[in-house]
């Protein structure tokens, strides 16, 4: 269950940071598809991980940026003087999602609960028809538009004229870089997880650098038969959990910690969920830079959530277009595209996988690790989410 994964992430955090459990004032977790038994998964996981039962916990949801929301919620609480130490994180268990009974069946079952006599119960049961048993799966489509995200990504890629070849090349780059980073031992944020009854998972198992030729053989997954988004150039859905320790500077220093990174600033932006579902980073990046008083060239490390190769490339093109900036963003000029040599150089969601609610923390901590490794000052994290929403944050290595 999801709280098991979350518990492992929390325990990993405790081990890595050696933070005393009773110092933690609050826990916030992000998740997208809720397990009905643990709707406040933050609390269940915290209790299971041995945190103090005096530490309150709540769960937030904001599609793929749920753990971003968890982190910024924690930051907000610290800024408001509510807490000094917050643990934030996210969890997603894509291999087991709640599947519901049909509405008719649910209604019958609920009425059955209230039926008093055996006769009433039997008459209710006798009304059940075969179609009552058709299950209802969690929707993979956008509620407002009924369009799946892959379909939207394919249209977005087409709108920006991004070819299949470009997308496959970018996906291959992601896998190649992830493999390199993994082999070099750079992905230090990973905590091994013992799957009950099975082997321990010690590393990301979705990294598969393939060849352009092999990728080229795949059929389009969404816009059939002529689309460009395929299984190979999309991020894949995995199980995963993440956790991050957030403190006020004074508290951290007082406790003798050296911060991995400072959160300089962040923004949330949203736009049209139909045609610009995944175009959020384009809108959010100039905003967060302005807010932080920086320009694109100040950024040493870019860490963007790779939902689809086509989506990343579309965003890069949009950010590099004056026409787009003027006509759709109300800006005088473009913000510019991040240089690729600073962009997702340790792989991304395309190669590492995308456990919805957990991805945000991975992006942030990878950016911090990259800054440290490469000796940079500023990092920029961006992630888009269902509903046409987006979070952009600037990290800072500190004084």
């Amino acid at each position: 269950m999801p709280h098991d994964l979350a518990r492992a992430a929390l325990q990993g955090l405790l081990t890595r940071t050696s933070v005393p459990r009773d110092v933690v004032d609050y826990i916030v977790y992000g998740t997208v598809i809720q397990e009905v038994k643990t709707s406040n998964v933050a609390r269940e996981a915290a209790l299971g991980a041995g945190f103090s039962d005096k530490t309150p916990a709540h769960t937030v949801t904001m599609a793929c940026i749920s753990s971003n929301q968890a982190m910024t919620t924690g930051v907000g609480m610290i800024a408001a003087g509510q807490c000094d130490v917050v643990v934030a994180g996210g969890v997603e268990l894509m291999s087991d999602v709640p599947i519901r009974h049909s509405r008719k069946m649910r209604k019958t079952m609920l009425t059955l609960n209230r039926a008093k006599t055996l006769g009433q119960k039997l008459s209710l049961i006798s009304k059940i028809r075969p179609d009552y048993f058709a299950p209802e799966l969690p929707a993979v489509a956008e509620f407002s538009t009924s369009e799946t995200m892959g379909h939207s990504a394919d249209r977005l890629a087409a709108a920006f004229g991004i070819s299949r070849l470009e997308q496959d090349e970018y996906a291959l780059r992601s896998h190649t870089l992830a493999k390199k980073a993994q082999d070099a031992g750079l992905l230090q944020d990973v905590v091994p997880f013992k799957v009950p009854g099975k082997d321990t998972v010690t590393k990301d198992n979705g990294i598969r650098p393939s060849s352009m030729e092999q990728m080229g053989k795949l059929k389009p997954a969404f816009v059939k038969p002529y689309g460009t988004v395929t299984a190979a150039n999309s991020s894949f859905l995995t199980d995963g959990a993440s956790a991050i320790l957030i403190m006020s500077e004074e508290k951290a220093l007082a406790m003798g910690y050296k911060p991995k990174a400072y959160l300089r600033d962040f923004v949330y932006v949203s736009q049209d969920p139909k045609d610009q579902l995944l175009l959020g980073p384009t809108y959010a990046t100039p905003k967060v830079l302005e807010k932080a008083g920086l320009s694109l060239s100040d950024i040493d490390v870019f860490e963007f959530h790779e939902a689809f190769a086509g989506q990343i490339l579309a965003n890069l093109k949009a950010m590099d277009s004056d026409w787009f900036a003027q006509n759709y963003m109300g800006r005088k000029s473009k913000v510019g595209a991040p240089p690729l040599d600073k962009f997702n150089t340790w792989g991304g969601s395309l190669s590492l996988g995308h456990p919805f609610g957990a991805t945000g923390c991975r992006l942030v901590i990878t950016a911090a690790h990259r800054l440290k490794k490469e000796g940079g000052q500023y990092g920029l994290v961006a992630a888009c989410a269902a509903g046409g929403q987006v979070n952009d944050a600037v990290l800072h290595m500190g004084p």
Binding site: R155, A159, Y226, Q276, F324
Partner: protein, 768 residues
């Protein structure tokens, strides 16, 4: 609020639905032959020809043929376009380097909207039209048998001849948006698909579906077309990229189509469609002569029943499907007077979809509707779904609830028909604010009042509203067919220049007509604003001057009075209905009174009788009064001339009426009581009154008169409206008839001066 019931009359389906889409894309071809318009996409080979309507780009081994009628919103199959198209195709066939071709439009909103109507109308003889049709057929046959595959890339309207071009191609790719519609609307213009559609369409979608398309002329959306097998691939419209969504979408459509063209040429794509089980079954069944005959018989009898044999086109369509050589039939149909009448209506409708008062100073963004009755809620429904914020105000919670439910039901119906998503429905409904007070009226740009039809109530409401609305706000009393001259309402207003009348027809979401009434005090901008709102609501708008009964009600009243007299003369309601529908009215005359409501009819007759005197006499008003007394108000009370029961289709004559009709019986004069005479008595009074409205300046032109009569009152569309009927029947003949009846019944049939003028100079026509 049923007393607000306006004539609940549906113009025959063939007129009401169809042109809605095409009207915007008017067949505007006035400048079609203007030369010297440089086309952007001239390829090297065509540069010599200086083509203006069709261009050709060679992209690798694929030729991209672009249609672009200059200075027009839509492409039409004009002589020029057809000639250039033939030219370009011949070049493509001759060019060894080209292996396949894509046909596409340079206009995102229109592939080809059909044949050039002006070209057809300019033809003097059936032979000329037949020649045009046969030339088109030859060209399309060449495309069908082209050794190089041809792909149609369809974005926007693909209608009539445009669809015939598309189905002659080997493959079709269409944009899946609301603007992209496919159809064969020829029947609505009294024509048939004249360029091979009657043969190719049945092969493609099966005979039953082809009949449905050709006989109703309905527009088919791209996604439905895909399911029917009418198009092979869909392309989703794109959002903003590095170009505008429209520009990039059509470019993308072209790219996708080129891909398929290449695939067809090198045989990696097959044009063979796997037919569904249902279609294979129907195809199999239709191959059996017995089944085939049965289907044809059923279709024909249905058409006979619906058209009463008044429309030659549908019968012709059945006759020539799926045979070869519909060219001569096309030619014959094009010169019929029915076709001329329907084309006249088409042009008239296009004219009534334009705002002759220009753009209003301030766009109406917030609308307030007073009264949540049938009418008020109907107006709210057609406003919210166009993005107008609408306040729906009533005085009682119950009435308000009913009204809000009506709006919801109307929109939800569209969800069920899949023309809206449930999310779109919800977001449209967020534009609707139901309330009992005047909150928010200070933001209203326009107030439409649809309250109790009583002049004192209207005055009171006006005073209340004027106290809360901003200075620019327009006040528009909705005007049911009762004669409350607008100037009496304007008289009570502090700002009469902002008062304007509107006559919606019930049910508002179905009836296309809106009659707008101006007083001498109404300002130009107020009129512009009212027309703009009407057009936004999707209405065909006519603007008339103020006067008792305005235009539509005034024409209808004398006819209804004559119906009463006919009934009094002992003709039973069923017979009255039969002879009026046989003339082409969509609803029988007796049924019409039931639908309008006997109480309303009484009111109208009384009030207009007071205003116009003897001319509006005829049937006894006491007959109606007694019916009202007995509770025979028509459909709304379940009893009128007929008995109306839920779920009973074949309604019976109300036996309670026997006694009443007996009581008011008058002797009939056999000289004027043949079926034809009865028809003419009804129609001549209608036409005479319409002419009088034009003579008095209530109407500003005959076109609006025809449109108002057909779309608002169901005047037979095959006759084109009262004025076109006067032209085709002959003013002299009309006057002769009127004189004949005048001799029997007196001044009700006295022809008006305008008709006499036309009769005296035969060259004078209402429509040139």
């Amino acid at each position: 609020m049923s007393h607000l019931g306006c004539p609940r009359l549906l113009a025959p389906e063939c007129i009401s639905q169809k042109y809605a889409e095409t009207a915007e894309n008017s067949f505007n071809t006035s400048n079609i032959f203007s030369l010297g318009y440089a086309c952007r996409n001239i390829s090297t080979s065509s540069a010599l020809h200086n083509r203006t309507h069709v261009s050709c780009d060679i992209k690798g081994d694929v030729a991209v043929v672009r249609f672009n009628t200059p200075n027009s919103k839509v492409n039409t199959l004009s002589k020029q376009l057809s000639a250039e198209f033939t030219d370009v195709m011949n070049e493509i066939w001759a060019n060894e380097a080209v292996k396949s071709a894509v046909l596409i439009s340079s206009k995102p909103g229109s592939f080809i909207a059909g044949a050039d109507l002006n070209m057809l109308e300019a033809c003097k003889t059936a032979q000329e039209v037949t020649q045009l049709s046969q030339d088109g057929q030859k060209m399309l046959e060449k495309i069908e048998h082209s050794p190089k595959p041809v792909v149609a890339a369809i974005s926007g309207s693909c209608l009539g001849g445009g669809l015939e071009v598309a189905i002659a191609c080997h493959y079709r790719v269409a944009t899946k948006d609301k603007k992209t519609v496919l159809g064969t609307p020829e029947v609505l213009l009294g024509l048939l698909p004249g360029a091979g559609g009657t043969q190719r369409l049945p092969k493609m979608v099966g005979v039953p579906a082809a009949f449905d398309m050709m006989l109703t002329g309905r527009n088919i959306r791209a996604d439905r077309a895909k399911k029917m097998g009418l198009v092979d691939q869909l392309v989703e419209p794109l959002g903003p990229g590095l170009k505008t969504p429209e520009a990039r979408t059509i470019e993308y459509l072209e790219e996708v189509a080129i891909g398929f063209a290449r695939g067809l040429a090198n045989k990696t794509v097959s044009a063979k469609r796997s037919k569904g089980l249902m279609q294979r079954l129907t195809d199999y069944a239709m191959a059996l002569p017995f089944v085939r005959q049965q289907v044809y018989k059923t279709v024909e009898s249905k058409v006979q029943k619906q058209t009463k044999g008044l429309y030659p086109a549908p019968l012709k369509i059945i006759e020539v499907t799926p045979l070869q050589g519909s060219g001569s039939s096309f030619g014959q149909l094009a010169v019929t007077k029915e076709s001329k009448a329907l084309m006249g209506l088409y042009h008239g409708q296009v004219q009534c979809k334009k705002n002759k008062f220009g753009t209003p100073q301030k766009e109406v963004k917030t609308l307030a509707v007073l009264g949540a009755g049938l009418m008020g809620a109907g107006i709210a429904q057609v406003s919210v779904d166009k993005g107008i914020k609408t306040i729906l105000k009533d005085t009682a919670q119950k009435g308000l609830d009913r009204g809000q439910q009506q709006v919801y039901k109307g929109l939800n119906g569209k969800v069920k028909k899949k023309s809206l998503t449930s999310f779109e429905r919800d977001s449209i409904l967020s534009n609707l604010m139901g309330q009992l007070d005047y909150k928010g009226f200070e933001k209203a740009d326009m107030v439409i009042e649809a309250v109790f039809e009583d002049i004192n109530v209207k005055h009171k409401v006006l005073k209340e509203v004027e106290a809360v609305i901003p200075a620019h706000c327009v006040f528009r009393p909705v005007t049911p067919p009762l004669p409350h001259p607008q100037h009496s309402i304007a008289a009570a207003s502090k700002r009469p220049e902002k008062v304007i009348g509107m006559h919606y027809f019930s049910p508002v979401d179905k009836m296309q007509l809106l009659e707008i009434i101006t007083t001498d005090k109404t300002s130009q901008d107020t009129a512009a604003s009212a027309v703009a709102v009407g057009l936004k609501q999707g209405k065909v708008v006519i603007v008339v001057k103020d006067g008792p009964g305005f235009y539509t009600t005034r024409c209808l009243a004398p006819m209804l009075s004559e119906v009463a007299r006919v009934l009094q003369e002992g003709i039973d309601p069923k017979k009255v209905d039969a002879i009026s529908t046989a003339f082409g009215f969509p609803v029988g005359a007796a049924t019409l009174i039931d639908e309008v409501g006997v109480d309303v009819a009484t009111h109208v007759a009384e009030d207009l009788g007071k205003a116009f005197g003897e001319r509006f006499g005829g049937g006894s008003i006491d007959l109606f009064k007694l019916m009202v007394q007995k509770g025979f108000l028509g459909r709304k009370t379940g009893k009128g001339f007929y008995v109306y029961q839920e779920g009973v289709k074949n309604r019976s004559v109300n036996s309670g009426m026997d006694e009443i009709l007996e009581k008011f019986k008058v002797p009939a004069n056999p000289d004027v009581c043949s079926d034809e005479d009865i028809q003419m008595r009804l129609v001549t009074r209608f036409v005479n009154e319409a002419a009088m409205c034009l003579q008095e300046g209530i109407l500003s032109n005959p076109v609006e008169g025809d449109i108002g009569a057909v779309f608002g009152l169901g005047f037979p569309p095959c006759l084109g409206g009262p004025f076109r009927f006067a032209d085709s029947y002959g003013a002299q003949q009309l006057v002769d008839k009127l004189r004949k009846y005048e001799a029997v019944y007196g001044s009700q049939f006295t022809p008006c001066q305008l008709l006499l003028d036309h009769a005296n100079s035969p060259s004078k026509k209402f429509h040139q």
